[in-house]
């Protein structure tokens, strides 16, 4: 700590200098008068000043305001050392801005004790200043980081306004980041997908999970997969990304193009409500599953519920933040409370809007604010007419060829793996299910009739039907030295997909393709392939079949 001694008498300065040095204060500087004191103060920035009152150029009383003017905000102790003893002068010492005084001749012990006490406060003040600075820097850094993350979020979690226009929603985060997510996407097969999620907690920590969820949801929507598959995939992702104590309650849904048929997977969210015109028609549909990100894939249940809505009927989804609020009697709103609010409105022929539900819940809420993220999403049933997304002018043509040996043909999931490859081709999204059916059909024909040489006629009786599949299993087990080669060629620019399947069997005579009646439990496959494909032709004596599908959805 640096001490500035200001006195016009050299003897006084030496006296103080010696005293301080004896106490361990070696860093002392001197000034002979007021002017010099101010200069030294500016250049040396001392921590404490011992100041004489009576000096030739300016009095110590006049020096103090000057020093204070140039001092920073920290506590700067100025102690007057004075020969004046009258009360008025001593009072003035403090009034002009001094912090203490000692009268000459001073008591060494008392003066040192005073200096020590004042320096202690000075040190504290410096430390606070330092901490304030660090805190300020920290805050600036956090603010900057939040701004970056906000930027990422606002760019990553964007719903197509066209799709969004089919929903009425009110979403209010408890903090700047939202632990509730609402996503909606066009279904390439017509209709829309949506997901309402609520992560454990709120704020940034709970919002980060929204990024991988959004990406996966968007990608899967574009592939036109089932709600079950979306639920399973999101569960897997969240298991992988989130810490164990964090998970996401969710309602995932698919609305068909008529707007009347909704498939729902619900886990850990409040009951979904469906409302018609009459209060009596209100129904609660509780969640069947645990939230996403808890159960392992083997335990995970993808079972969905189906909801039918007539035109104008509403599907209402709220997050727990909206209904877990208390009134003045400490009663919680809950699902029944929100149902009552809706019934009330229906009885008065009022329209149910997401915002009106929020406002009603706010009125109910005794604390008049929400501690958790709040979401209300409403779909009012109507046909969904969305134009297909304009894809890049040039699609990427691709072809995949898989050569399956006997060993591979024995794998129980072999067809699934081939379908997965087919599902990845550009342009197939709009006819994914149909393509799967055709591929499955051609593959099974090649395997069962070409390679295993099973006779379909077996299937004409009930028992034969099952014997057929038992025989299929047994023959497959014995199989060696056989192959099926599947080639999938995607031609997105011609809106076509060509599939060929070649087997190592003996082929067949085309004449044997007889007509079968619809009552038979067999023989329907080829007719179906004909109906689903633009073109079907056989080559290599029936060992190879080549089909062409149009990817243009009618």
């Amino acid at each position: 700590m640096k001490i500035l001694i200001v006195d016009d008498e050299p003897i006084n300065r030496i006296l103080l200098l010696n005293m301080l040095s004896a106490e361990g204060y070696d860093d002392c500087i001197e000034a002979e008068n007021g002017t010099q004191a101010i200069e030294k103060f500016k250049s040396e920035a001392p921590d404490l000043i011992l100041l004489d009152v009576v000096m030739p150029d300016m009095s110590g009383f006049d020096v103090v305001p000057q020093l204070r003017k140039h001092a920073s905000e920290q506590y700067l102790p100025i102690l007057f050392i004075t020969a004046l003893e009258d009360k008025a002068s001593l009072v003035k010492c403090l009034e002009v801005g001094g912090n203490d005084f000692a009268t000459k001749p001073f008591d060494k012990h008392i003066l040192v004790a005073k200096i020590r006490a004042h320096l202690k406060i000075r040190a504290l003040s410096l430390r606070i200043e330092q901490q304030n600075k660090a805190l300020l820097l920290f805050n600036q850094r956090v603010a900057r980081e939040h701004a970056i993350v906000e930027h990422i979020f606002s760019n990553a979690i964007v719903n197509d306004p066209q799709v969004l226009s089919y929903f009425d929603y009110y979403i209010k985060p408890a903090e700047s980041f939202n632990g509730d997510v609402f996503l909606c996407e066009k279904n390439p097969n017509g209709g829309v997908y949506f997901a309402v999620g609520d992560f454990t907690g709120h704020g940034l920590a709970s919002a980060v999970g929204a990024l991988p969820v959004t990406r996966a949801f968007q990608e899967m929507s574009q592939q036109g997969v089932t709600v079950s598959e979306i639920a399973r995939e999101l569960n897997t992702i969240l298991l992988k990304f989130l810490p164990h104590d964090m998970f996401m309650a969710a309602v995932i849904g698919e609305i068909d193009s008529t707007g009347s048929h909704i498939t729902l997977w619900q886990g850990g969210m409040p009951a979904v409500l469906t409302a018609g015109k009459m209060a009596s028609g209100l129904r609660q549909r509780p969640s069947r599953h645990m939230a996403l990100g808890i159960l392992d894939d083997e335990e995970f249940d993808t079972a969905c519920d189906t909801v039918h809505l007539s035109h104008g009927e509403q599907l209402i989804i709220v997050s727990d933040g909206l209904i877990e609020v208390f009134d003045s009697n400490n009663d919680m709103l809950m699902e029944d409370g929100i149902s009552d609010i809706i019934k009330d409105k229906l009885s008065n022929s009022e329209t149910i809007t997401a915002q009106s539900l929020y406002e009603k819940a706010l009125q109910f809420n005794v604390s008049n604010s929400f501690d958790d993220d709040v979401s209300a999403i409403i779909f009012s049933s109507k046909p969904i007419q969305l134009l297909p997304t304009v894809k890049s002018q040039f699609g990427l043509p691709s072809s995949h060829e898989v050569a399956l040996t006997a060993e591979l043909l024995k794998q129980p999931d072999i067809l699934q793996r081939v379908l997965q490859i087919a599902g990845q081709c550009e342009g197939v999204q709009s006819i994914r299910s149909v393509l799967y059916t055709v591929l499955s059909e051609l593959f099974n024909n090649a395997l069962e009739h070409g390679v295993l040489k099973l006779d379909s006629e077996m299937k004409s009786t009930t028992e034969g039907f099952h014997s057929y599949y038992e025989l299929r299993e047994a023959s497959l087990k014995e199989l060696s030295d056989a192959s099926i080669t599947i080639r999938i060629e995607s031609l997105p620019n011609e809106q076509k997909i060509q599939v060929s399947v070649l087997d190592s069997g003996d082929g067949f005579s085309l004449d044997s393709l007889e007509n079968v009646t619809n009552d038979e439990s067999f023989g329907r496959g080829l007719a179906m392939v004909h109906a689903l494909c633009e073109q079907v032709r056989f080559e290599e004596g029936g060992r190879k079949v080549i089909v062409t599908l149009s990817t243009n959805p009618r």
Partner: protein
């Protein structure tokens, strides 16, 4: 995703919910789903809401179910099929044998 079956409307309707893929791999499971009908049952509904695709062996299984339950005089329906699956059912004229809803 296994096939599940449960009763609805006081046990009058058996609902068989088929998984994501409805193909030959489900032969056993599907047969088991209707092997144990109660006396009250008068309708069997096959729910395809989460079924992504079906092939002709699935169609065979559906018809085989009707054949083996012929004596019971049940009503049969298929519910909640997604558009592309519906198309398969329509192509195969399954509307003649099942009520499609």
């Amino acid at each position: 995703m296994p096939i599940t079956s449960q009763y609805r409307q006081d046990g009058e309707v058996l609902v068989i919910k088929v998984g994501e893929k409805f193909d030959f791999s489900k032969v056993e499971e599907f047969r088991n789903a209707y092997s144990d009908l109660t006396d009250k049952t008068n309708e069997i509904a096959v729910d395809l809401s989460i079924t992504e695709y079906m092939d002709s062996s699935a169609l065979g299984m559906l018809l085989n179910m009707q054949k083996s339950l012929k004596a019971g005089n049940y009503t049969y329906s298929i519910e909640n099929a997604r558009p592309q699956v519906s198309k398969i059912l329509e192509i195969s004229r399954f509307d003649k044998k099942f009520q499609l809803r």
